[in-house]
């Protein structure tokens, strides 16, 4: 599968994603500059972490209007698998391709740590190789990671199965202590209604090899391979 990794001025997780896909998965991947307007060559897309446009105004607010985002919206509409990581998650919410918003961490501190997330939904192209209830140990690095939706939207997300990952402790329990940023309902990642667009604050691309501290993020990236070439091709027609 051919991965496109969308790069904005200020992205800093783009090369991590590139290496994770090339070295961790052994799949072809290319960086795609934010001025690109055609993404039809790629089988799936990653919107990487970083500080697009310096996070001026709000994280993701300016990136949302980059030329490439029209193409991203088109591919999302067509059903292509899209993964937004950290700043990429923020961008996808600003673009309203994912519900909710990401606010300043409740602690007001930038958190850089390893956390456990529990897989809540495996019916997405990015979690299809995972099992609900499974724990993954992943790194986080963010200052604006507090996921927020109002109560009504939260009920909708829970009912529709759009909560994909939740912060938990090492035993898999949802506790306030396990929540690194004050996210509502310990939510670490969500998907759109259709399930093809997934966003999360932890960095799976920074956990693709034990040599760099962990390899459990690779299972998220590898899941998209299990979606199958045919299905992805089918989205194009």
């Amino acid at each position: 599968m051919r991965f496109g990794i969308v790069t904005f001025p200020g992205s800093n997780g783009d090369h991590d994603a590139l290496m994770a896909v090339r070295l961790g998965l052994g799949q072809p991947a290319e960086l795609v500059w934010h001025t690109e307007t055609d993404l039809s060559d790629y089988d799936c897309l990653i919107i990487p972490g970083g500080f697009s446009y310096g996070d001026y105004l709000r994280p993701g607010a300016i990136a949302r209007f980059a030329p490439v985002m029209e193409a991203v919206a088109r591919e999302a509409q067509a059903g292509k698998p899209i993964l937004g990581i950290c700043n990429g998650f923020q961008i996808l919410t600003e673009a309203q391709l994912l519900p909710g918003a990401l606010l300043r961490n409740a602690s007001l501190e930038f958190v850089c740590d390893w956390v456990f997330v529990r897989v809540e939904q495996h019916r997405t192209p990015w979690t299809s190789r995972l099992v609900p209830g499974q724990l993954l140990r992943l790194p986080i690095a963010h200052g604006d990671g507090r996921y927020f939706v109002d109560e009504r939207t939260l009920r909708d997300l829970e009912r529709n199965g759009q909560v994909v990952f939740r912060y938990v402790d090492a035993e898999g329990r949802v506790t306030p202590e396990a929540n690194p940023n004050g996210s509502v309902a310990n939510i670490a990642g969500v998907c759109n209604e259709r399930g093809n667009v997934v966003g999360l604050m932890p960095h799976p691309e920074r956990a693709y090899d034990r040599l760099i501290g962990g390899d459990e993020g690779l299972q998220i990236l590898a899941s998209v391979l299990a979606v199958g070439w045919e299905l992805v091709r089918g989205h194009r027609s």
């Binding site: 105004l57 300043r104 961490n105 602690s107 007001l108 004050g182």
Partner: protein
């Protein structure tokens, strides 16, 4: 070409009521430490000034409202208000 007037807009963006504002809480605690015990609550927002040209105040206000909806505020979590005056 119609005559246009130069306007200055002042836009205030803040978190919606009910959205936890940890910045506001931190500032409130700081004020209390300084002895301002009367401070009950603080909410921190963003202030944006902008200058624009428009034929009349109504048009300027309509344009600024659209800018708020589209970029200056995130309607999911933020609210806004603004004033428009001749620059």
């Amino acid at each position: 070409m119609s005559d246009t007037i130069r306007w200055r807009a002042e836009v205030y963006v803040s978190l919606r009521p009910g959205v936890n504002d940890p910045q506001g809480l931190a500032v409130r605690d700081g004020l209390r430490r300084l002895g301002y015990d009367e401070v009950e609550d603080v909410r921190v927002g963003r202030f944006v000034q902008l200058w624009l040209s428009a034929p009349d105040a109504e048009t300027a206000e309509r344009r600024v409202a659209a800018m708020c909806e589209q970029l200056l505020a995130n309607p999911v979590v933020e609210q806004y208000r603004f004033t428009v005056e001749p620059a």
